[in-house]
């Protein structure tokens, strides 16, 4: 059984979008990884919101839709509430199950950026039902729970899902939540960093309980979105990674 050395195929880390025979080597395929249609329209441009209707004084210049995704129980709702209200919902009296989304206006370099943050709690398991609306998201925060290995393991699956159903240019960020529970940690920071690097995702660890990096995460997203919105494509892109590194380094290291 002689065998010629076949050229080493590069198994791209990011799943290829077109499944053509020409591709090198076998690729694991989730059925129909190919994007449904190339003509999928880009998300409508974010709306400027200084409209006459917007009462209540929360004017904004641009609005974006952000979605929190990840396994159930990773703390999506808590993260949202922490960011919006600065509170943590431990044994909370206020029920939060009914939250669909929260708006928060973030000031980015003098520009008011409204983030409409959608919580997807409860929809995790019904993905066929819910992936219809990933497409509208400008940014996706992908969460896992550092105390739950399985939630981290499914990040790849989530990425596949996102790849298939979200916009091509969606802003993505990986967040490891619940770093306050140091004792129960099951996912090493390095592992997550490696994964993030493999997929080119900005990453940070957060704690909805202590508030660690929560604002930073959303501000970074807001900055990135604003940058993409205002800057011409030719201009240098806002370096989300660098920003996070710069701003988040100290904070995220505060806990072992």
């Amino acid at each position: 059984m002689s065998r010629k050395k076949t050229p080493k195929s590069k198994a791209g880390s990011a799943p290829a979008t077109s499944a053509l025979p020409a591709a090198n080597g076998p690729r694991p395929v989730r059925p129909g990884t190919a994007r449904p249609g190339p003509e999928a329209p880009p998300n409508g441009p974010p709306q400027p919101g200084r409209s006459s209707v917007g009462g209540g004084g929360d004017f904004y210049d641009v609005a974006f839709k952000v979605m929190l995704v990840g396994d159930s129980g990773v703390g999506k709702t808590c993260l949202l509430v922490r960011f919006k209200d600065g509170a943590f919902l431990a044994g909370t009296f206020i029920s939060t199950v009914g939250i669909d989304f929260r708006n928060k206006v973030v000031d980015v370099d003098g520009m008011k950026v409204k983030l409409q943050i959608w919580d997807t709690a409860g929809q995790e398991r019904f993905r066929s039902v819910t992936h219809a609306y990933y497409r509208d998201a400008h940014a996706l925060l992908l969460l896992y729970d550092v105390t739950n290995k399985a939630s981290f393991d499914s990040i790849q699956a989530w990425l596949t899902e996102i790849q298939e159903h979200a916009q091509d240019d969606v802003v993505l960020m990986l967040l490891g939540n619940k770093v306050d529970s140091a004792q129960e940690r099951a996912v090493k920071r390095e592992d997550a960093e490696k994964l993030a690097k493999d997929y080119g995702l900005p990453f940070m660890e957060t704690s909805a309980k202590t508030g660690l990096n929560v604002d930073l995460a959303f501000t970074a997203i807001a900055k990135e979105l604003k940058q993409r919105h205002t800057k011409a494509p030719s201009e240098p892109r806002f370096q989300l990674h660098d920003y996070i590194k710069r701003e988040g380094r100290g904070a995220s290291c505060c806990r072992p």
Binding site: P26, S95, G122, D136, N148
Partner: protein, 1083 residues
């Protein structure tokens, strides 16, 4: 829109009638309307007038009046080309009388408006008045006469203030500016602050153009950008002055009016009364012309003023009652004339006008016409809207409902809070739905009634949201509201159990969600397309989204609401459950959660299936030709041709027809076959077959070059040569018929292929087990006995982590990233788990553990724990495609088999179900491995096996004792199954394990789509749970978890089962023999 065409089709005739008939006008008047056919004998009264050229030949090239007889003679002849004739009015009609009043003074003033001009024509030739009448609307639009001095154009004001349309003389040798100046002065509009546009053009006209050229056209007046405010203000100011003046027009011309206006007034003075009446009768007499409105009080309201569609522009200054008005327009505006007008007026302008009117006067209601169609939904909404609103009004907090809430324990408070959240989120959801129906949809339909946005398909945009709104109103009215009422009345705690009534029917009640969820993505896509391409639509949506009710949400956000709400119910209910202590209430909530989740899983499964089908279609489109067999000559080729095809979309042999073939892996390999040299191929691994293809040059497609290899007939072995593996292909007799060596471009890839093939084998086996639970379990039980079972139990209890150890194909799972597998595992550690722990008496088989119906193929990898040990078996199963897709196999084991029934009644085995029995046996350990039951088959393995084993053992007994024939009638079969049970009871491990993990739980874990399962739960339960009072529990189950439990299978079913029994038993027997021998050799 057809009507538009007909409308447009008529003018030529009317022109002929009006202008060519002048010469013999007097003659006809004197003669009355006699038949003008020279050959007509009796010269009877004319009934028709024809303007066709041929016919006019007969009457000095004038319109030909014909009596009935001659008309039919002329116009039914062979050469009649179907040209139009017009009816002549009966004698002595109101209109006829009007004609004879020839009292109009001669026109002196150049300011002749349309009606005057029309009138003059009519006056001049009264005999044709009916023609004129019929066409008056037409004429109203095309103000064009032969007399240059009578040329006019229509001036329409596109301002944010309502100004009536003006008719302005299009005078020769006068500039547009000169002509318009007086009009504008009267209106208070500064000529410099507005632009004039011709018809639908968007280029402003120069005011120096000669006015005459615009005769018969529409001119739009629009404020220049930036000057809108000033113009509006000016108009308003002058309006307040001039309106009263205009109103008095009939009384006498005001002194300060300008010349042209004065002359107009004069003529109005004289003509107005008569004309008004005439107009009215015109209107009443021709109610068939919709869109026409009764003249408004202001003097210059000519018919054209109604041109802006229904009611928005003309009578704005009146106290316009929106509802009444729009109802009115709903009645009339659907007809042709509105759409005709719609064509001529700039639609955007019209749209903005309407939207502005909606903004001013409130949203319209659903057009009446549609309300009739939609039997109940809006009608009922209309009547009940106010009431409904009241019903939806909630206190700010549950505390207002309850006396002594201060004394409640913290836990009770939490519980009330949770129940309250269920209630008030429901109320606000209903309100949101109402925004969609009452704002977005209703306005759209109203606009469409006026001929706007007709290209938008409301159904495609909103799917069945009205239906969803209705079901929620129903749910509110029948469940939520009574709970609230009760609390208000008794001032006592909200009882979660009170919702049971509504929620246990969730499956049937919420059916419309299936359609909605299926179509949601399409709706979104459709909406995006419209927003991108359709300016009018964009304007409309932007307008609607600005409404306060939208809470600054976009339509796309609103369209996502239904699925968000749907998936929220389990969370809301679980939150209630977590805070509820009272056992009966708990039980009720558990039932509710079960029923809700079952339904959602059903929806999810439906969508997944469709998605899989679409994916498969995409793959299939890349596989071009099937060139496996080559003919030796033309004749052979010809004969062969018919069979050279492969339908990959055909159902998977042996699996449920609902299952879709999935692409598990694809990629380039080098293939060596026999001693031939290597060949570059491209392989597709599907659930049940491996395709060896070759890329077609120049096309991004491939052709199949080897017969498809059924995965269950493949033996796959890795070879020592790194990166290569061997596939031995077996036939039905398990003799090798082919061997292919494949070389992957790397060891990892090779490993991936091997694993993927194993995985496919497992998956296929699972699918078949699912479809024919009996056989496989049967075999399994024979072969694997208890060791196997022990393994399973371990798996169940050990949780996900142990799974991979036992299952060989792990790599694929990693590479294809099953969301679900991880997913479920992680779920386990979260809230649901906590609930389980809290409740020692009730194992909450949280649906999370049940796994996700949206499992990709990779989910099945995790099955492999159990399945992989069975792998060899799968290769040997002779159960071919022939065995069919029905569940009839099961019948061989007795009609009472829960799975068989389920399969039978609910042929959607993929569907995941996660019912929650009201009462569950205590579980020694928290949830079984979630990975194990990702998908139905997965569930089957740990759960049904026990049931089935017992069953199959029993059936083996039966088999051996030749009991085949006894199993025929339903009743005996029942007793048989009891026999089976009895047989298994004595200390089999099966049963033991069953009890440990909770038999009822297992039973319910069995596949069955959504609510349909409920029907079966009770029965499903029986065989498994018998030792501990199964009947009792099953009864509870049936009363609790399902509303439609049928204690006995319908006779039809059992009958059908009976038919198949014999043949299948034989088959099974063969299977058994085959299987055991071959397994030995294989392993």
């Amino acid at each position: 829109m057809n009507s538009v065409l007909t409308k447009h089709g008529s003018p030529p005739h009317s022109w002929l009638s009006l202008h060519s008939g002048t010469e013999d006008r007097s003659l006809e008047e004197e003669k009355g309307l006699r038949c003008q056919n020279p050959d007509c004998m009796d010269k009877g009264r004319a009934a028709k007038v024809c303007h066709h050229a041929d016919c006019q030949q007969l009457h000095h090239r004038g319109p030909l009046n014909l009596c009935e007889a001659c008309d039919s003679k002329f116009h039914s002849a062979m050469h009649y080309d179907g040209h139009v004739r017009f009816d002549l009015p009966p004698q002595g009609s109101v209109l006829a009388r009007n004609v004879s009043t020839r009292s109009c003074p001669p026109r002196t003033s150049p300011a002749v408006d349309l009606e005057e001009e029309e009138e003059s024509c009519m006056d001049g030739k009264g005999d044709r008045k009916s023609t004129g009448l019929k066409l008056s609307k037409k004429k109203a639009r095309r103000r064009h006469t032969d007399d240059p001095s009578k040329e006019c154009f229509t001036l329409k004001f596109d301002l944010n203030v309502d100004i009536e349309t003006e008719i302005v003389p299009a005078m020769k040798k006068k500039s547009l500016g000169e002509v318009l100046l007086p009009v504008f002065e009267r209106k208070g509009i500064a000529l410099g602050k507005v632009d004039i546009y011709l018809d639908q053009s968007n280029t402003p006209l120069s005011l120096t153009f000669e006015a005459y050229r615009f005769g018969g056209h529409y001119l739009r007046v629009k404020a220049k950008p930036g000057d809108e405010g000033k113009v509006e203000q000016g108009v308003k100011d002058s309006k307040s002055l001039s309106l009263p003046i205009l109103r008095q027009a009939g009384a006498g011309p005001p002194a300060q009016e300008r010349v042209d206006l004065q002359s107009r007034r004069e003529s109005l003075d004289i003509l107005a009364p008569g004309r008004r009446r005439k107009n009215m009768s015109e209107f009443l007499g021709e109610a068939s012309i919709p869109g026409q409105e009764p003249p408004t009080p202001s003097s210059c309201s000519l018919p054209s003023s109604s041109s802006s569609g229904s009611s928005s522009s003309s009578s704005g200054s009146d106290s316009w009652k929106n509802r009444a008005a729009s109802r009115f327009s709903g009645f009339f505006s659907s007809g042709p004339s509105t759409s005709t007008y719609g064509r001529e007026i700039d639609k955007m302008e019209q749209l903005e006008g309407k939207l502005h009117a909606y903004g001013l006067f409130g949203l319209p209601r659903l057009p009446r016409r549609l309300r009739f169609d939609h039997d109940s939904w809006e009608e009922e909404g209309d009547e009940e809207e106010d009431e409904d609103d009241a019903g939806l009004r909630l206190e700010d907090s549950w505390r207002e409902l309850i006396d002594g809430h201060e004394k409640l324990t913290r836990r009770q408070c939490h519980q009330q809070e949770a129940v309250w959240e269920l209630l008030h989120t429901e109320a606000s959801y209903i309100k949101k739905l109402r925004v969609i129906t009452n704002l977005f949809l209703c306005c759209l339909l109203n606009l469409q009634e006026s001929g706007l946005l007709c290209e938008v398909e409301a159904d495609r945009l909103f799917s069945n949201i009205p239906e969803i709104a209705r079901l929620h109103r129903g749910l509110w009215g029948s469940v939520m509201a009574p709970v609230l009422e009760k609390a208000r009345r008794t001032r006592a705690l909200l009882q979660p159990g009170d919702f049971l009534k509504g929620f246990k029917m969730f499956g049937s009640l919420f059916k419309p969600y299936v359609r909605y969820c299926m179509e949601e993505e399409g709706c979104m896509e459709y909406m995006r397309g419209l927003l991108r391409d359709n300016d009018l639509f964009r304007t409309y949506i932007t307008w609607a989204e600005k409404h306060q009710q939208c809470q600054r949400l976009k339509l796309s956000d609103m369209l996502a609401k239904p699925h968000q709400r749907l998936t929220k119910y389990p969370l809301l209910l679980k939150s209630v459950l977590r805070k509820t202590d009272e056992p009966r209430a708990k039980e009720a909530v558990v039932t509710m959660i079960g029923s809700v989740e079952r339904f959602i899983h059903h929806v999810n499964a439906c969508m997944r299936q469709r998605q899989e089908r679409q994916r498969l279609a995409a793959v299939v489109s890349r596989i071009d030709a099937y060139e496996v067999v080559e003919g030796s000559n033309d004749e052979v080729d010809k004969l062969l041709k018919e069979f050279l095809h492969l339908d990959l979309t055909a159902p998977i042999p042996g699996a449920s027809p609902e299952e879709t073939r999935q692409l598990l892996l694809e990629g380039s390999l080098r293939m060596k076959e026999g001693k031939d040299s290597k060949m570059d191929v491209y392989c597709f691994l599907f659930t049940d077959l491996l395709l060896v293809t070759k890329p077609v040059k120049k096309a991004e497609r491939t052709k199949v070059i080897r017969p498809p290899l059924l995965v269950d007939k493949i033996v796959c072995r890795e070879l020592r040569d790194p990166g290569s593996f061997l596939l031995i292909y077996l036939n039905e007799f398990h003799s090798a018929v082919g061997a292919y060596t494949f070389q992957a471009s790397g060891q990892a890839l090779c490993r991936g292929w091997v694993d993927a093939i194993y995985n496919a084998q497992n998956q296929l086996q699972q699918l078949r087990v699912q479809e024919h639970p009996g056989d496989q379990q049967h075999l399994q039980s024979l072969e694997e006995e208890e060791d196997e079972r022990e393994e399973e139990e371990e798996e169940e209890e050990g949780g996900g982590s142990s799974t991979s150890a036992a299952s060989s194909p792990t790599i694929l799972r990693k590479s294809s990233h099953s969301l679900d597998s991880q997913h479920c595992a992680s779920d386990g550690s979260t809230e649901t788990l906590a609930m389980v722990v809290v409740e020692p008496g009730e194992l909450l088989s949280s649906p999370e553990f049940r796994g996700d119906p949206f499992s990709s193929q990779s989910d099945e990898t995790s099955l492999s724990t159990t399945a992989s040990s069975v792998t060899p078996t799968s290769e040997l199963l002779p159960l071919g495609p022939v065995d069919g897709r029905s569940c009839s196999m099961d019948s061989a084991y007795g009609t009472l088999s829960p799975t068989s029934l389920q399969d039978f009644m609910a042929p959607a085995p993929t569907v995941e179900s996660a019912p929650r029995p009201p009462e569950l046996p205590p579980a020694p350990s928290p949830p079984p491995s979630p990975r194990l039951r990702r998908r139905t088959p997965v569930q089957l393995l740990p759960c049904l096996p026990h049931l089935l084993k017992s069953k199959s053992e029993a059936s083996i007994l039966q088999l051996l004792s030749g009991a085949t024939t006894r199993r025929v009638p339903p009743a005996p079969s029942r007793s048989l199954s009891e026999v089976c049970l009895a047989a298994t009871v004595p200390g089999t491990r099966t049963r033991g394990s069953c009890q440990e993990a909770g038999p009822s739980w297992y039973c319910q874990g069995a596949p069955g789509p959504g609510h349909q399962l409920a029907e079966l739960e009770g029965r499903a339960h029986c065989p498994g749970g018998e030792p501990e009072g199964p009947t009792r529990r099953s009864r509870e189950l049936s009363s609790g978890a399902s509303t439609r439990v049928q204690p006995e299978p319908p006779p039809g079913i059992s009958a059908q089962h009976r038919k198949l029994t014999l043949a299948q038993l034989y088959r099974i027997r063969t299977t058994l023999l085959l299987n055991s021998t071959l397994t030995a050799s294989e392993v």
